[in-house]
Symmetry: C2
Subunit: 234 residues, 2 copies
DNA sequence: CGCCTTCTTGACTCCTGTCAAGTCCCGTGG
DNA sequence: CCACGGGACTTGACAGGAGTCAAGAAGGCG
């Protein structure tokens, strides 16, 4: 796998972490890295096991999840294309990484990745900025899980998903339609709720004609303003 | 304020972020930084305002909190001596920083701090490691707020506090006593509960003779194993 | 067409929040 | 020295939101 070939055609090259690398460093990393296809539902890292790989997501959606010994599970992060994957500077990973859709990743052995990081200030800075942003996001979710009702969580979640998966200009156009890439169960895990509560809240929003559920995992936001009012802006 | 004077006697010098700086960089930072006393209850940064300062905590305890527009509040982090304070690389802070006890901090203008960071790879690396660890901690709390019962949260919280504030060798000795540095209200904000629920759970643990509450904010862990069983280890 | 998974809906329970007293603790001042 | 006052904490009664258990409907794939 040669650098030129791989990175030149990389779809996330300019937004991902390696965008900060020069050709030489990129070549180094390529020597030890590889692209990999991941099936939907496949778990590529398990909580508690050794932290072996770091990398970038090329396409697809992953969840980062933690669980109690008795099996209750909580999704602690969602990873999108161009997001960084893995835990540098730790012997073991605290969270499992599971693909919520078919996906492509670009992975490197952790030690090799750390070495590149050491030699490359720009990438380190980029990772620091990214990590700080991710921390802010995790903390925003703490407020949600600690203090918001099921209705508020669902409303906020739908708005977040609309922003990411809705058509362009989503923030303004009113009937906005998109497909949820998560099952009800996956949504429940993200929001700290049960499947039943997620389903009931969706039905309630549908009954209030704030959203429409044409079928499958498709959602149409009919009255964005109403949904935003329910989301209890932070 | 001279470098020699200030940093030489610094109580957190070897554990805090600036431990990674050489004398020259330390001198630079000192020129623009200052020590500051903070009263208990004083808020030194407000959510939504401009991110002006970064720094280190010398002594005392701070909470980082987020709130909804209608006033519900959630503590998203606790900051202890030697912890880093502030949000580099962001125009505004998302969280308020409030002293839970009288405290001393060492602060620098954000821009100056960022400049030092740019020039100093070791400090940048140290901040990255720290931020990654803080992110892990925030995610562990997501599991707690999303999936654990009030009883489990209280048990885990008491064990965490015992580890930090209990006497040496705390993990093994059985009757272990310490003072909580947080009011019931502050505990409730950390755990995503109400004051009443915190109080009731403490009373329940006391009734079960797992802890004793001799008065004030003093707690004695009488049966650590029982408390750990309730905490539902992740 | 039929099976299996996912989703919805219903009935019921229970944990936690809310509202409201009441108690304890501590510092202040008479 | 003790009464007073205010904040922090505890306790009680009650309500309601979300979880649990269970069944049924819908959707997708072989």
């Amino acid at each position: 796998m040669e650098c030129g070939h791989v990175c030149t055609g990389c779809t996330v090259r300019d937004v991902a972490l390696c965008g900060s690398l020069d050709e030489g460093a990129l070549a180094d990393l390529n020597r030890v890295g590889r692209r990999r296809h991941v099936e939907q539902g496949e778990t590529i890292a398990w909580a508690g096991e050794e932290s072996r790989t770091c990398g970038n997501i090329l396409s697809g959606l992953f969840k980062l999840s933690a669980s109690t010994t008795d099996g209750r599970e909580q999704t602690v992060g969602l990873l999108y294309p161009a997001d960084f994957l893995g835990r540098p500077y730790a012997a073991q990973t605290d969270y499992s990484v599971t693909a919520l859709s078919a996906a492509e990743v670009c992975v490197f052995p952790r030690k090799a990745f750390e070495a590149t990081l050491e030699r490359n200030g720009a990438m380190q800075r980029a990772l620091l900025r990214r990590t700080l942003a991710t921390l802010d996001e995790a903390r925003a979710r703490l407020l949600m899980l600690g203090r918001q009702s099921a209705e508020e969580r669902i409303a906020r979640f739908l708005l977040d998903m609309a922003k990411r998966f809705g058509a362009e200009g989503g923030a303004s156009v009113d009937p906005q339609t998109f497909d949820l890439p998560l099952s009800r169960g996956a949504i429940a895990d993200v929001l700290g709720l049960t499947i039943e509560t997620v389903s009931r809240q969706m039905t309630k929003l549908k009954a209030a004609r704030i959203i429409a559920l044409p079928g499958g995992r498709t959602v149409t936001i009919a009255r964005r303003a109403a949904l935003e009012a329910l989301a209890a802006e932070v």
